[in-house]
């Protein structure tokens, strides 16, 4: 409970005693590159393969001749939009970006770089963490859209080029009984997960004490806590919104 209280105060301190607006614009753009662009390759690879594997495994499980082939892409589509793109990508995002944020801030803490900012009269939480959270909120939903597209494309490549499903069936399955709200739901999840990963990792890194060993430990805890928070939020959002 003490940790949750400290985390809420930490989030609150993002919005007090801020620096000039243009300072944040430059920092946020830098963070968009670090957090978003630099995660693109990893997330693209993961999404493409998950889509391909989902197609093969769905086809493997649909053994009844009464079920039409287009159901395969229908399953892949809904699985991708509802879960794979926003949630599995979030776990990958937590592993890559979360550990990076915690490691960076942890190292800045133990080498007194954060103290240096504080002594200059700069709100270090706001200066260091706010751009990271903002950049995550901007870039993560974009990554989810790209991951969703690539997952469905991965499924298409694995399904059509191995003869599991015809191109016409796959494309038909993508369109049939499409629920538009699922996309909105995925976007809501992506904003929530982006906030959770960036803020939890920043919090863990920011309050690191000790040396290199503790920085490593903070990175691991940041990833673990982010993953747990993602799964809890995933369940709560599904329960509330579906």
């Amino acid at each position: 409970m003490k940790s949750i209280g400290k985390y809420i105060l930490f989030i609150g301190s993002l919005f007090v005693n801020r620096e000039k607006f243009k300072t944040y614009v430059a920092l946020t753009l830098d963070e968009c590159i670090n957090i978003g662009i630099n995660s693109l390759i990893l997330i693209s690879i993961v999404a493409t393969f998950i889509g391909a594997v989902s197609t093969i495994q769905t086809a493997y499980n649909l053994v009844s001749p009464l079920i039409p082939d287009y159901v395969i892409s229908q399953v892949v589509r809904d699985l991708t939009i509802l879960e794979l793109a926003p949630s599995i990508t979030a776990i990958v995002f937590a592993g890559k970006v979360g550990s990076n944020i915690a490691g960076e801030l942890g190292t800045m803490r133990i080498t007194e770089q954060i103290d240096a900012l504080e002594v200059m009269g700069i709100n270090s939480v706001s200066y260091l963490v706010f751009p990271k959270i903002l950049a995550s909120l901007i870039t993560y939903p974009m990554l989810v859209v790209i991951a969703g597209f690539l997952s469905i494309m991965g499924g298409y490549l694995a399904g059509v080029y191995t003869g599991i499903v015809t191109e016409a069936d796959y494309l038909y399955g993508l369109k049939v009984d499409f629920i538009e709200f699922n996309v909105s739901f995925a976007m809501i999840k992506s904003f929530v997960f982006a906030f959770l990963v960036s803020s939890i990792s920043s919090y863990k890194g920011f309050y690191t004490t000790g040396g290199a060993f503790e920085v490593g430990k903070a990175s691991t805890i940041a990833v673990t806590n982010s993953c747990i928070a993602i799964l809890l939020a995933d369940y709560l959002l599904a329960q509330l919104l579906l």
Binding site: V16, K20, T111, A116, E118, V119, M120, G121
Partner: protein
């Protein structure tokens, strides 16, 4: 001038500072000395506001810093420059970006003026042609110089140095000490240096405060330190063989 009154601080029930008071004067190099673990760095952090003291007050030119509201605290902090033990340079920024940083964030100066100021400060600390080097590409002594340049770039009124010559060879350590003293006198600022290096005490100590187990047990000038009869201070000062030789020579001369 900085005045501290009855500063107390405990961690997990263990008293680290037991009511320390003192005055650090403008234009002077004020030293806080003592053995490791006596609370020097904690006292320095209490003075600059990185740690909140349990009791006591810190005044910057008669302005109550400890109980100040956020705006006054920020205003006072923007008059502070600090040199950290490891330099605390931002790893992701080169030397020039490190020194220009306070100007970028805290002022509206045009870029060419800022660059002039950065180059002036780097030259003042004896660094040239290192603007584009990263902190990982320069030596420990150079990092300290860059740290000093960053601390004075914003025309600070107060300069704090935490173990400025730790990890440096004796010659470079003396150069850094002299640089701190020269800057203090040249810009008429209040400088507080935490150190356990007796060479620094003898080189630059206009005013010396000696801490022992969280208490101030002696204060005075570098001239008086050799004549002190305080046992804890004598144990600290004459732990060094060189200092014992100096003392013996002084005694035999008189």
């Amino acid at each position: 001038m900085i005045e501290i009154q009855n500063i107390k601080k405990s961690f997990d029930g263990k008293a680290v500072l037991k009511g320390i008071s003192g005055v650090f004067r403008k234009g002077k190099t004020n030293l806080i000395i003592g053995a490791s673990g006596t609370g020097k760095s904690v006292l320095l952090k209490c003075i600059v506001g990185l740690i909140k003291p349990d009791e006591g007050t810190v005044y910057y030119d008669n302005r109550d810093f400890t109980h100040a509201n956020r705006n006054l605290k920020t205003d006072i902090r923007r008059e502070i420059g600090m040199l950290f033990q490891g330099g605390a340079l931002f790893d992701s920024k080169n030397v020039e970006e490190n020194v220009i940083f306070p100007l970028n964030v805290l002022t509206e100066m045009p870029l060419d003026e800022k660059l002039d100021r950065v180059n002036f400060c780097l030259q003042r600390v004896g660094l040239e042609n290192v603007n584009k080097k990263m902190p990982s590409e320069i030596s420990g002594g150079m990092k300290k110089r860059v740290g000093i340049a960053r601390a004075i770039v914003n025309n600070s009124s107060y300069l704090f140095c935490d173990e400025p010559n730790s990890g440096l060879d004796p010659q470079t350590a003396i150069t850094i000490d002299n640089l701190i003293k020269e800057i203090t006198e040249e810009y008429d600022i209040t400088t507080v240096v935490v150190t356990h290096d007796m060479n620094s005490v003898m080189e630059i100590g206009d005013y010396v405060m000696f801490l022992h187990e969280g208490e101030k047990v002696w204060e005075g000038s570098d001239q008086n330190i050799m004549k002190s009869r305080v046992k804890e201070l004598n144990d600290f000062v004459f732990a060094n063989k060189m200092m014992r030789i100096v003392k013996n020579e002084e005694t035999s001369n008189t």
